[in-house]
Symmetry: C2
Subunit: 551 residues, 2 copies
């Protein structure tokens, strides 16, 4: 790309983000600029597909095929250059975007004349202890597939678990957040779990428990009170427990913690609540309101002409009503069309138009052939609303081929049994984080040694059950200390129990990664060998000459 400024050099439009805002801007620009070969349109997105978000919950239950709610961006916008990369930096002054590297470690720079920011929001679990480590997000296609496989893994384990408490813990599923996405998620998960469990010989359907936590006094605050009440009745009839006025306070690998101190034992917490501005936006030197980029009536940034913002990352005020737009797909699509028109008008030097749009209505699916909807002020609920929901989104689904595939999926869903294939494609992370509340056992004497723990924050006590002596406190450990390496170094069961004294955040390294690191890197091996030696000697001192050697 040449930096030389000349009257008729090629213009470059760069769009950041491939959600509703970004993709519809690209599609519209592609159409409007079809006969203008001097304009390059580039879209940067970390995936090469567009997710039709409203149908995402159906991916969980498998009633829509995995690939059928997503559309390759290259097919939607054949005139657009797609960069399947992450955006690393945005320089509004130099008008340069840097993307992450591909197969080789060199980032890529792209210059622009016009820029569209369509970065959306990200899940933000910060603030609540343990949520980052143990909460399951529900936003992307990857999240939906992960959740589906996690639920099937839970059912597999519950089927062979003989301990009653553990089985009950496995079969409890908690969803936090009673807004649109929380309600749609729990409705779909409820249908899926109860139907799929029938294929498991030893799962008692009465042991399955689904809990929806909501901080407000009624679910679906986006809709009118009677629709919210209707939805609540429907879900309760399908055995979903709804806990109103209940706030999530944290999570560990073994339970969900509520505000009053109550603990719900579970291995599954789905969180739909917190969303935050995209981290790239914080660094931008433009005006923001609650993290969202402020735009003028043409959806352009007042301080940076040529830069536009669309969708959930932008603060957009309706020109007619003066009201801020809600973060919905409907609005993002209309905003995208307005931006495309205005960019073309800017290029051609013609008049631009201010943004205005009033919503058609809202609809939420409740699973199992029912829904609630508010369409142009008319309230609909139940079976009819569900059909409206399907029809509405089906018509909106971009691409004829996806329409055909989804139609067939829906048809097969009626006649075929639910699919219960658990797809383990993801390699498990070798290094990760865990959170524990006070008084929890991190592992128990006699357990199989699966990982090493490094304490980031908090305190633990290490105790051992000695025959005839009961439980003996061996030592306490705090921030920066490491434990659990003995069982891995000696390939023996855990020789002690480790219990938290305070809340603990820990970094864990699994057996494979630990062995690789130790085998390759002598200085690290020395640290661990020394540490183990010291621990064993201290141990002997304390317990006297009669103490049994740790294997």
């Amino acid at each position: 790309m040449s930096m030389a400024v000349s009257a008729n050099r090629r213009k470059s439009i760069v769009i950041l983000g491939g959600g509703f805002g970004g993709v519809y801007t690209a599609m519209e620009l592609g159409k409007l600029l079809k006969r203008e070969p001097d304009v390059d349109i580039t879209l940067i997105n970390r995936e090469n597909y567009f997710v039709f978000q409203p149908m995402l919950p159906e991916v969980v239950s498998g009633s829509i095929g995995i690939l059928d709610t997503i559309v390759p961006i290259r097919r939607l916008c054949p005139q657009v250059n797609l960069f399947t990369r992450e955006v690393e930096t945005v320089d509004l002054d130099a008008k340069v975007i840097t993307t992450s590297p591909g197969f080789w470690p060199q980032p890529r720079k792209l210059e622009y004349d016009y820029l569209v920011l369509a970065l959306g929001t990200v899940m933000n679990f910060a603030g609540l202890p343990g949520l980052q480590e143990h909460g399951l997000p529900f936003k992307t296609l990857g999240d939906a597939l992960f959740l589906r496989n996690h639920i099937l893994h839970i059912l597999e384990e519950a089927d062979i678990e003989e301990d009653r408490d553990r089985r009950q813990k496995l079969l409890t599923f908690v969803v936090a957040g009673g807004g649109f996405s929380g309600v749609e998620a729990i409705a779909e998960v409820n249908d899926f779990v109860r139907e799929a469990a029938k294929a498991y010989r030893r799962i008692d359907l009465n042991e399955i428990r689904l809990v929806l936590l909501h901080s407000g006094s009624r679910i679906l605050p986006e809709l009118s009170e009677d629709l919210g009440t209707f939805a609540q009745r429907i879900l309760e009839r399908r055995k979903v427990e709804i806990r109103l006025n209940t706030r999530l306070a944290g999570a560990t690998g073994e339970h969900v913690l509520l505000d009053g101190g109550e603990r719900i034992p579970t291995k599954t917490l789905i969180s739909t609540v917190p969303s935050a501005p995209h981290p790239l936006l914080a660094a931008l030197p433009c005006r923001k309101e609650r993290g969202r980029i402020v735009t003028n009536e043409f959806l352009e940034l007042p301080e940076f002409p040529g830069v536009w913002a669309v969708g959930d990352c932008a603060r957009i005020v309706d020109h007619k009503s003066g009201q801020p737009c809600p973060p919905t797909a409907q609005h993002a699509i209309r905003q995208a069309k307005c931006i495309a028109t205005n960019i073309v008008a800017t290029i051609r030097g013609t008049a631009r138009r201010p943004f205005t749009y009033s919503s058609l209505g809202t609809v939420a699916a409740l699973g199992h052939h029912s829904a609630v909807a508010d369409i142009l002020g008319v309230k609909v609920s139940g079976y009819l609303a569900w059909h409206l929901w399907r029809f509405f989104y089906f018509m909106k689904l971009p691409g004829l081929d996806r329409k055909l595939r989804v139609a067939i999926d829906w048809l097969l869903d009626v006649i075929l049994p639910m699919d219960i294939v658990q797809l383990k494609i993801a390699r498990s992370a070798s290094i990760s984080y865990e959170h524990f509340e006070p008084g929890e056992a991190i592992f128990r004497q006699g357990d199989w040694g699966d990982k090493v723990y490094i304490i980031m924050k908090g305190e633990v006590e290490i105790v051992r059950e000695e025959p005839g002596k009961g439980e003996i406190l061996l030592t306490k450990q705090g921030s920066g200390d490491c434990f659990g390496e003995l069982a891995l170094l000696s390939n023996a069961p855990r020789s002690a129990t480790v219990r938290t004294v305070t809340a603990v955040d820990a970094l864990t390294i699994d057996r494979g990664a630990f062995n690789s690191l130790l085998a390759g890197f002598a200085p690290l091996r020395k640290i661990f060998e020394q540490m183990s030696q010291e621990r064993l000697e201290k141990d002997k001192e304390r317990l006297g000459p009669t103490a049994r050697e740790i294997p």
Copy 2:
């Protein structure tokens, strides 16, 4: 399970492995023992589904939906208890199986009266340098999906790559092994790449190169010479380069190494060649031949009555012909039926029957509506063989619902464009291994710092390009040494180039894992800080007071 021996205590049959051998044994036992409530049948498999292997290549191109070649084992064998776990140990004397732990770190023990070993084989990359690290296996459903996404990732990057050599490297795909699975894999990958590439605006179809490496003098040695020649002609007409009498010698992240020293630059090496006995078998105290378990004419282990072996992990001799059985699905299915009958006969004390079966024939798909087949001695090739291939496997596909889904997939495949969605569900491994050949640059001065390297084997030289002085050798490093941490600690570009002197095996830790480890674990941080400090000082000494500081 009670250990007490009594005449009519429950009997337990345990089957290890969920391939053709294991699943068909379980299905058959389920049928034969339907009215015998005193016998428990348990199947242990790491996945909860059965893969219909012959259709796996079609998953790569997406002509069959991801989930449609696989069948949930619980649906196939509703009478069977499924343990979705890994087998950890087999104790033939105590008659106890130990499985891996589930959500909690305690392994599970299972006692058996009758045991069926159906563990199959595993890919074995040992022996050839770099294959373990850089070769893509093609055996499981996970492999097929990984390969599909890798190819789409390659196309995404090739589309935006401006360097000609790199683009050529990206667009070269190498398959090692000209037997059945190698030929079917390259045929399918060829169809897929050439069709999918049409959706990429800046990929020139003439740059795409597919190479099949085969050590023998003709491909498909399993079939007669004329069918092999026919297959070769078909593939060559579709622009596949076939390199006969060519042996793979190794691989790095940048190229494939051939026996004579030739290097083919590529990012994609698919290996179908080496398969080895399952690692669990090595520890078993029974007779083996080339790693396979030796069985008697009833498919039972002579030294361990009550233990049977089936499929690829067993050495089975046909009772009539005296010939050893080939490792095919056809044979495994017949063996499974024989074993099920013999186990039931043993329980009931009736006569058992020896195993005999003669093959119906073989068929290999060549992609794009052609195939070669040898059916009861009749040779068929081309379009007709392809229809036979489809019909044959379609009839064998277990479960009516899969039949329906596959039929619809095939139908849609004809009318819809090829799907090019790249599904990134797998988190990338934070710790992994890489192999380099002599004289390769591991990274270059100015590159973005993405990981830290620990040398397991071999030697590297670290050099720097100094303005006016040319390239200066900074130091050499060998086994156990570590490099690359500077750029990560200082967040600056690479300050030097690292080049291999000999072949090098390295352990790599990516930026995220390295930062986590350093933040949490003070002793490790100290090691790295000290190391960097020493390196900087040595650097200064060597280059004198005028040397520029490393940022």
